[in-house]
Symmetry: C2
Subunit: 230 residues, 2 copies
DNA sequence: CTACATTTGCGTATAATTAACGCAAACTAA
DNA sequence: TTAGTTTGCGTTAATTATACGCAAATGTAG
């Protein structure tokens, strides 16, 4: 006869932010637990009566005050049965995108400290969180090229050069500024505002908005967003 | 204080097979449990000391005797907290590809009956398994276009027309036979054998093999497999 | 043996898309 | 005024995708 199942289930979330030409992830320093000296992804055990995505939202709300523009399930980590040294814990990982351009982070009850880390300056994390983060970055890179999620990392109104830099930075690729602009504009998913950038160098640049309604309409007619790089 | 976590964790697997111009999924009729009148995806609870993927392999081995050519985690279903009416169960779903062209299925201990179902003739399944299957088909369709997994549904040696029909059938699209052939051949990932098809109608067709070594070599040099349809 | 149906295998012309780059416009700073 | 900078729009060449044409190699019917 089989023993009673004794496996815990947790959720962990990668929160990506983009600011000043760099990609960041939100990490917390844990107050409790054996791994209290480590930075970790925000997360925790799922409650009996809450859905997985509700659990992620709750944990993020408890530990940070960021407003999510996008969230998606990433992967479930349960192949390393000792990923948590105390108990068997399976983690359902999510990743989320926020506009970090103008954001203050709160340090709240569950987390001693909350901090943005540049994606290439991530310290050794608790559990297998470095692995989770690696997979999250891969997914983000892939998804950027075939769905318009880059806008979820930017303010509602942004410069074309912001969008271009975001793509170049995250995908670590060069791209021709003029062809990139032409391509995105040809999709007709951007809306031109009347406003101009406050930056006082070079020719003033128009601010653009992503038109989600238009995008959804195009999708219904078989449109497929795609940004390819050499 | 929080209550003790009381959530079970299961794995379920979609096994896809392709035969005679149709896509199939493997279903089992369950012997035990409240849903014993339903067909269901093969699967079951994860044991305390086994990894998630080991659990899938074990369940498939217990319930069927198929040899997997490909297996990948699909999604974790845990947002509907009543997806199993008896207890809260979170299911980590996988999908796998097998060569069904020449295959006998065994009915074994855990499963009363095991049977292939055409993908468009799937009955109402236990739990949320129709939902899982739907997501699996979406993933299979998407992945077919950007990774060479179609070969994992075919015998080791196959005709070009088999491959072409597989793509047309699963993606439900028309495609120009000659352009499809040209494209795949241009990638250099196929190996021509000396053998010919046993079919006695029309011009005899060469049998081809997928060259996985060559493919991996190309990947390292930045190659990207892609089959687009109009 | 011949004509015909069938499927394979290879080729070519044209359309569409991508990649590479030129350059003037609109600003600031000196 | 001039130099420096970034934006915004354009043109051309290279590449890739699409739409076909057609002969080769078989089995079969007469």
């Amino acid at each position: 006869m089989e023993k009673l199942q004794n496996i815990r289930i947790a959720v962990d979330a990668i929160v990506f932010g983009y600011k000043n030409n760099d990609l960041y992830a939100l990490l917390i320093e844990q107050k409790f637990g054996s791994a209290d000296k480590y930075w970790a992804l925000p997360g925790g055990l799922v409650q009996n009566d809450e859905s997985l995505s509700d659990a992620v939202i709750r944990e993020l709300h408890e530990e940070t005050n960021v407003q999510l523009n996008f969230m998606e399930q990433l992967y479930t980590f349960g192949d390393d049965i000792h990923r948590d040294s105390r108990n068997r814990v399976i983690s359902v990982a999510y990743y989320a995108l926020v506009d970090a351009s103008n954001l203050e982070i709160k340090a709240d009850t569950d987390a001693e400290r909350v901090q943005w880390f540049k994606i290439d300056e991530i310290p050794p994390l608790a559990f297998d969180h470095n692995l989770i983060l690696k997979k999250g970055i891969e997914r983000l890179k892939a998804k950027l090229t075939y769905e318009p999620i880059g806008f979820d990392l930017l303010p509602e109104e942004f410069l074309f050069s912001d969008l271009e830099n975001l793509y170049c930075t995250i995908l670590e690729k060069e791209i021709d500024r003029r062809n990139f602009r032409k391509k995105i504009l040809s999709y007709g998913i951007l809306e031109e505002t009347e406003k101009f950038s406050p930056i006082k160098t070079g020719r003033p640049a128009k601010l653009f908005k992503f038109n989600n309604l238009k995008y959804n309409e195009l999708i219904k007619n078989g449109f497929h967003f795609e940004i390819k790089f050499a």
